[in-house]
C-alpha cells in the first residue's frame, strides 16, 4: 500500500516522539494511510465523521458556555439572557450549541438510516451497532438534560413530563421520581444534578465513540455493495482518499449548519422557552425538540400510561436485536428488491411519527400517530423476519472491483 506519510515519519522530532510514544503510528492506523478502506464508499459514509465533528463542537461550545451560566433556579434563566446579551459573542456560542444539538441529531439519524439501508448492523458488526445505539441513548439523555438548563417554560415542563415517565413503573415508580427530582417536584436540586450530568455525559460519549471506532476497525467499514473486501484491489487507504472526502462533506455540512445558525437560529426551538419557568402554569401545547417527536408520538399513541412508556422505550430497545430480526444474509438493500421498498416505507412511517408528535393528540394526527406506531413495530417484528426468508436477493458481485474491471 502506498505510504503517503513517509516524509512526515522521517522528521527527526516525529521520530524522537514516535520512538517513545507511538501516537503518530496509532493515529495513522486509526484514520490515516495505514487504515485500508473499501474503495466504493459513497457520500452516505460521511455522516459518521460529521457526527464526530458535532460532538467536538458541542463540547467546545459547552465548556465556554459554562463559564457564564449559573445552575440555580433563581438565576439560570437570567444567566442565559446574560450570555445572549452581554457576553462577547455569547449569542453566537449559545446558538451554536443549541443548533449544534439539532445538527448532531441530523447527522446521527442519517448515519443510523444509512446503516439500516446497507445492512451495516449484520455480522460481524453487531457490537459496532450496539455501541452506536448506546451513543444514541446517551445523546438523548444529554440533549434532554441540556434543554432543562435555560429554565424556561419548556425546560421545566419537559423535565416534569419526561421524569414522570418513570412514575408509570409499578410500585417503585413514585420513589424513583422523587429520587430523580431530589424533592417533590422539579426544582433546584433537579436543575443542579441535570447540570452535573449534562457536563459529564458528553465525555462518556467520547469514550463510547472510541470503542465504536475500535469495533469499526476490527472488520473495517461496510460499503454500498455490502460485500467484504477481497484484497488490496478492493481497498484504498483512509488518508488521503477519505480524509479529503470527509473534509469536503464538512464544508457542505457547515454551510447547512450556518444557514440555521445565522438566519434561523430559533427555527428549531420553541418560543415558550423564552418564558421563565413557572411551576403553576403548564404551556398550552407541550412539545419536545424535533428529534424526540417520533418517540413522543409513540408515547401518546397508547391510551394507557404504562403501555405508552413501555412502547416508547421499546422503540429504541428493539433496535438492539435488529441484527437477529433481519434474517437475510445479504447486507445491502441494493440486492434486496423487497427490503429496499420496505426501507422507504419505514422511513415514511418515521416521518409520519415526527409529524404526529408535533401535533395535539387528537383527530387525524392521532390516527396517523397510531398507524405509524403499529407499522414501526410491525416492520421489525413481522416484516423483517419474513422478508429474509421469502425474498429472492439479486446476484451479488464476486468482489467490489470485479464489475468495474470487467467494464
Amino acid at each position: 500500500m502506498a505510504d503517503n506519510n513517509s516524509g512526515f515519519f522521517a522528521n527527526p522530532l516525529v521520530k524522537w516522539i514516535e520512538y517513545r510514544l507511538p501516537v503518530f503510528s496509532t493515529l495513522d492506523h486509526m484514520v490515516g494511510s495505514q487504515y485500508p478502506t473499501p474503495k466504493n464508499l459513497s457520500y452516505w459514509w460521511n455522516f459518521g465523521s460529521l457526527a464526530g465533528l458535532c460532538l467536538v463542537i458541542q463540547i467546545l461550545t459547552g465548556i465556554v458556555l459554562v463559564m457564564h451560566y449559573t445552575p440555580h433556579t433563581a438565576m439560570a434563566f437570567d444567566s442565559v439572557e446574560h450570555i445572549m446579551r452581554d457576553v462577547n459573542y455569547g449569542w453566537l456560542l449559545r446558538y451554536m450549541h443549541a443548533n449544534g444539538a439539532s445538527m448532531f441529531f441530523i447527522a446521527v439519524y442519517i448515519h443510523i438510516f444509512r446503516g439500516m439501508y446497507y445492512g451495516s448492523y449484520k455480522a460481524p458488526r453487531e457490537i459496532l451497532w450496539w455501541l452506536g445505539l448506546i451513543i444514541f441513548l446517551l445523546m438523548m439523555a444529554t440533549a434532554f438534560m441540556g434543554y432543562v438548563l435555560p429554565w424556561g417554560q419548556m425546560s421545566f415542563w419537559g423535565a416534569t413530563v419526561i421524569t414522570n415517565l418513570f412514575s408509570a413503573i409499578p410500585l417503585v415508580g413514585e420513589p424513583i421520581v422523587t429520587w430523580l427530582w431530589g424533592g417533590f417536584a422539579v426544582d433546584n436540586p433537579t436543575l443542579n444534578r441535570f447540570f452535573s450530568l449534562h457536563y459529564l455525559l458528553p465525555f462518556v460519549i467520547v469514550g463510547i465513540v472510541i470503542l465504536h471506532v475500535l469495533a469499526l476497525h476490527q472488520h473495517g467499514s461496510n460499503n454500498p455493495l455490502g460485500i467484504d473486501t477481497k484484497g488490496p484491489q478492493d481497498r484504498i487507504p483512509f488518508h488521503p482518499y477519505y480524509t479529503i472526502k470527509d473534509a469536503f462533506g464538512v464544508g457542505v455540512f457547515l454551510i447547512f449548519f450556518s444557514f440555521f445558525l445565522f438566519y434561523a437560529p430559533n427555527y428549531l426551538g420553541h418560543p415558550d422557552n423564552y418564558i421563565p419557568a413557572n411551576p403553576l402554569v403548564t404551556p398550552e401545547h407541550i412539545v419536545p425538540e424535533w428529534y424526540f417527536l417520533p418517540f413522543y408520538a409513540i408515547l401518546r399513541s397508547v391510551p394507557d400510561k404504562l403501555g405508552g412508556v413501555l412502547l416508547m422505550f421499546g422503540a429504541i430497545l428493539i433496535l438492539f436485536v435488529l441484527p437477529w430480526l433481519d434474517t437475510s444474509k445479504v447486507r445491502s438493500a441494493k440486492f434486496r428488491p423487497i427490503y429496499k421498498q420496505l426501507f422507504w416505507v419505514f422511513l415514511i412511517a418515521c416521518i409520519g411519527l415526527t409529524y404526529a408528535g408535533g401535533q395535539p393528540p387528537e383527530g387525524l394526527a392521532l390516527v396517523i400517530g397510531r398507524a405509524c406506531t403499529i407499522y414501526y413495530f410491525a416492520h421489525f417484528i413481522i416484516l423483517l423476519p419474513l422478508v429474509g426468508w421469502f425474498e429472492k436477493p439479486l446476484k451479488l458481485p464476486a468482489s467490489i472491483s470485479e464489475p468495474v474491471l470487467k467494464a
Binding site: 416534569t160 415517565l165 430523580l180 424533592g183 417533590f184 444534578r193 411551576p279 407541550i286 397508547v302
Partner: protein, 176 residues
Amino acid sequence: MAGTATQKAGTEPTRRDFIVVAAGAFGAVGAAAAVWPFIHQMNPSADVLALSSTEVDLSQIAAGQSVTILWRGKPVFVRHRTEAEIELARKDDTAALPDPQKDADRVKKPEWLVMMGVCTHLGCVPLGQKGDFGGWFCPCHGSHYDTSGRIRKGPAPLNLPVPDYAFLNDTRIRIG
C-alpha cells in the same frame, strides 16, 4: 502449578477456595455499602423535607372560585364548590370510574375541594372548569377530570390526589 494440583474436578473444595470466596463476598458487600451514600444523596434533603406544610385562608374564596397554592413545589387546587358541582359529583359516584372513589371520601367539607393540581398522567397542571365533565382538563395529553377531581377520560390512571390537610377553624386549613 503445584498448589492447584489438589483442586481437580470432583474433589472437595479446599480451605483456600473458602478464603477466596469469603474475601470476594466481603469486598462486594463493602463496595455495595459504599455505593449507598452516592445514591441516597439524590433523595430529598433535610431542608426540602422541612418545607412541608402551608396554611390557606378560605374566607376570601367565594363559591365558584378556586385558588392555587404552591406546596412542596407543586400546585394545590382549593376550590369552593357550588351546590350544582357538589350534586353532580355525588350523582357520578355510581358512574363508571377508572379509579372508583366516592365524592364524600375526597372532601372533609363538601363545599371545599382540596387536591393536588398535578395530572396523574405525566405531571402537567390541569386547567380548571374545562373538559367534558365540568371539572379539570389537562392540555398536555387530554385527560378529563370531574367536579370531584376524579379521572373520567384520557390517559391518566388515577384521580387527582387529595393531600393531607386539616381545618384549623372554619376559614383556615393547613396543608401537609
